[in-house]
């Protein structure tokens, strides 16, 4: 029991943050959807298809953000054996996988009308696909052992090795020739992306992060309860063994 280093503090903070995170998620996603679908203009080159950006780009950011958080938590779990870090890494993985999946599919749906292809095997798309496989591998590995701690350790090592992929994704558009537009287009924030597009994009990004907080709290609570159940069951078996 003591190995689950005081999740009480986490539960306290989570209970405070949770309603705010839910509120921020609803408000920013509501406003972002309205501005993205109705309140923003069509692109002069891409027409209305540019509205896919408000889903695709924040999802890509979340795919990377979740992976980095998962890797940081995994490092903390490996180095300091902080049990809550393990649970939070586990809790983040499905969210990151979901956003990476959304990013890939919306990218295909955007690529077809703009590039004429659902998919091309270029560096940005391929490295993003590898990111999805890293998430899936992490989740499979974490659950692959009877002893959850061994699974956690193996998965944490995989998460850390996979970090190499993050800068590759980020700079893939600069290092290799690609159909994918370079980052200058995404951060054309200053002069060329208009505020009418930048604001819904940022609202969606904030909303996705708040959504991540909501799901992270729920899943970490779930992991904490599962860990306590495991400990109690083990204590029961142990006690039964002693009684005989």
């Amino acid at each position: 029991m003591h190995r689950f280093a005081n999740p009480a503090r986490f539960m306290r903070i989570a209970a405070l943050v949770y309603p705010w995170a839910v509120g921020v998620t609803i408000l920013t996603l509501g406003a972002g959807l309205w501005l993205g679908l109705v309140g923003s203009p069509a692109d002069y080159q891409q027409g209305e298809s540019v509205r896919i950006m408000y889903i695709h780009v924040p999802s890509a950011w979340m795919g990377l953000f979740c992976y980095v958080s998962m890797a940081v938590c995994s490092a903390m779990a490996l180095v300091w054996k902080h049990p809550l870090a393990d649970l939070m890494a586990r809790a983040t993985a499905p969210v990151g996988a979901a956003f990476t999946f959304i990013c890939l599919v919306t990218g295909a749906l955007w690529g077809k009308p703009m590039w004429g292809a659902w998919w091309v095997w270029d560096a940005r798309l391929t490295s993003m696909l590898i990111l999805l496989f890293l998430y899936l591998g992490y989740m499979a590995l974490a659950d692959a052992f009877d002893d959850p701690q061994r699974g956690q350790k193996a998965a944490a090592i995989l998460a850390l090795v996979g970090v190499v992929n993050v800068p590759i994704i980020k700079y893939s558009v600069d290092w290799w020739n690609t159909l994918h537009q370079p980052a200058s287009v995404v951060k054309m924030g200053g002069p060329s992306i208009d505020k009418t597009m930048l604001i819904p994009l940022m609202l969606m990004a904030v909303g996705f992060h708040a959504y991540w907080v909501v799901v992270l709290i729920l899943r970490t609570r779930s992991e904490i309860a599962a860990a306590k159940v495991r400990t109690l069951r083990m204590a029961q078996v142990h006690a039964a063994g002693q009684a005989e």
């Binding site: 959807l33 679908l37 109705v38 069509a42 027409g47 209305e48 298809s49 509205r51 896919i52 889903i55 695709h56 999802s59 499905p94 969210v95 979901a98 999946f101 959304i102 599919v105 919306t106 749906l109 955007w110 077809k112 009308p113 959504y211 909501v214 799901v215 729920l218 899943r219 609570r221 779930s222 309860a225 599962a226 306590k228 159940v229 109690l232 069951r233 029961q236």
Partner: protein, 68 residues
Amino acid sequence: MDALSSFFAMGGYGGYVWPSYGLAVVVMVAVLVSSIRSAKARERELDLLQQMRPSRARRRATQETKAS
């Protein structure tokens, strides 16, 4: 009505724009619902286990009777 249908047409890109938003909604709601369900189920299981567990005082009492 015309404004609405042109809104859904998305300048001819409706077949690409709406599936993108639809997929995002479906995936995000699915992850959220499954997270809520698993948190509730596991916390309920934990509550049950803790209720079933004899209190600390009683356990100490049984240990003492065993020892004597």
